[in-house]
Symmetry: C2
Subunit: 301 residues, 2 copies
């Protein structure tokens, strides 16, 4: 079993009411990889610049993430994002974005990355997602994330990409925008009609909901009293979700999908307890299991 | 076992993208009563005008609701509300409100109403809630709802009222506003510190979450593809929740509270399928049980 994730590797400067950090390691593929690393072998694919060094490689490798497919672009700079959150932490304000080497990213997978059993296409241009998917045809489970930018500017390509994966993981605003349907159940159904077997809608602090052709399952957000930095919560969810499924292997059944929703929720909850990757990079598997047991006790009639 | 609810009885004119109705029977106490009527004996207390007649009494009595404590004010008119919902159904726009007889409402409970084992103080002025609570001292379970208007204009009275009940049922925006805490878990904890054992936050389409001194439990909204009129969903939830608990009797334990959350969710989901009380007034108990079984299957890890 192995999981390849393709997406952004970044430096994030983040300010929330609970503190601030400069140039932390971040990016979708990073948050995803760290979360997934609790369950399976993870290979991260993405570009970085000369400013990306041993501390960043070590953080990923410390969790066992395979970094051989990170492409270091000579003379380039790593994707940079600066943002802040207000008192309610629900909305990020972007203050600066510099795509840098990520702007020209057109990945060629190594044979090892292309041989993954599970593929996650983090939020990148849909046409890039399709080219990566085409290089990784044997992945029995392929999933993608997206965002409003691509729904607005590259809808046809995105619908094409969705038709080539098994699972779409997006937030609820995105699934509504993508389908043009304000009703969440209808919106998810419309996306399933584009091809994937499963649509997971991330609901922020309200948790996540999973839709299949004739099924529905929901998990609440883990009730944290101390949330310090929500950056990367959605990617951590996706990492816990797909990492668990890749670890199980084969075509996931209903019970696998439910547990995966639980692990996604647990990893997202740890991610937001501290800034950036601070919490997940020091997390232990027994903490994951303990919180899953707590979550299990908070759900179910 | 018997449940007394004190609150508004209204005529509602509602327009949604799926249709419109003029002067339907509505109001918090009405939606609550109909939902609670599946589980226990319900007495509704509230004022109406000359315009309230046999069709309205019959609708309530058809579900077994005791209407003897409805006060018909001679020469008065019933509370009237006109509102509309846009395409996403999440926000009501009020176009007209006429409090009419509800404006001077200062209930005196009959001996039968005052002898209730459970009391629900629907969203009315906090000082009226306190006067009613004082008349119904023997209720082993008392709960209240409130709204932004009272949080802003009568906060001290509201905090006093909250200190005199066992359970607060409000929406998530209200619990945040009341506590001044954007974090939902902290906000609920702050309200529990005002006195009640239980705080239920209604999350609209995302379901509901229950907080106790050291417990948390959440239920997702039932995934409906056809929502026609969300008016009264919160009161239907409260009716299912408290009605079930009154039917069980005694001090509710954890398992009772969980099932009550389930019944609240189920009643709210039926309520929004048609306009006003159209769906719940024709609902059968076996439909309630069937949907609870479906909901149970959609939750729990």
């Amino acid at each position: 079993m192995s999981l390849t994730v393709v997406g952004s590797i970044a430096f994030d400067s983040v300010k929330t009411p609970f503190g601030e950090r400069e140039r932390m390691l971040g990016g979708s593929a990073v948050h995803f990889s760290l979360a997934a690393s609790f369950f399976t072998d993870v290979r991260i694919v993405g570009p970085v610049g000369d400013d990306f060094g041993q501390p960043e490689f070590s953080l990923l490798e410390g969790r066992g993430v395979e970094t051989a497919d990170i492409v270091q672009v000579e003379g380039g700079e790593t994707f940079f994002w600066r943002g802040s959150y207000g008192f309610d932490l629900n909305t990020a304000t972007t203050e600066e974005t510099a795509l840098n080497v990520f702007g020209d990213f057109d990945p060629e997978l190594s044979p090892d990355s292309a041989a993954a059993s599970t593929l996650f296409l983090a939020n990148i241009q849909p046409e890039v997602q399709r080219r990566v998917r085409a290089q990784c045809r044997d992945a029995g489970l392929a999933a993608l994330d997206s965002m409003n930018l691509w729904i607005e500017s590259a809808r046809d390509e995105l619908v094409g990409a969705i038709g080539e994966v098994d699972c779409v993981l997006v937030n609820d605003a995105e699934v509504r925008q993508l389908s043009g349907e304000p009703n969440l159940a209808r919106a998810a159904r419309a996306v399933i009609d584009m091809g994937p077997r499963t649509v997971v809608t991330k609901l922020g602090e309200y948790g996540a909901a999973l839709f299949t052709q004739d099924g529905f399952f929901a998990v609440p957000g883990f009730p944290l009293e101390d949330v310090r930095d929500p950056t990367g919560a959605g990617d951590s969810f996706a990492g816990g979700f797909l990492g668990y499924l890749d670890g199980v292997g084969g075509t996931p059944d209903e019970a696998d999908l439910r547990l995966a929703m639980g692990y996604g929720t647990v990893l997202a909850s740890f991610n937001v307890e501290k800034f950036g990757c601070e919490r997940v990079s020091e997390l232990e598997r027994d903490e994951v299991e303990a919180r899953l047991a707590e979550l299990r006790n908070m759900t179910g009639l």
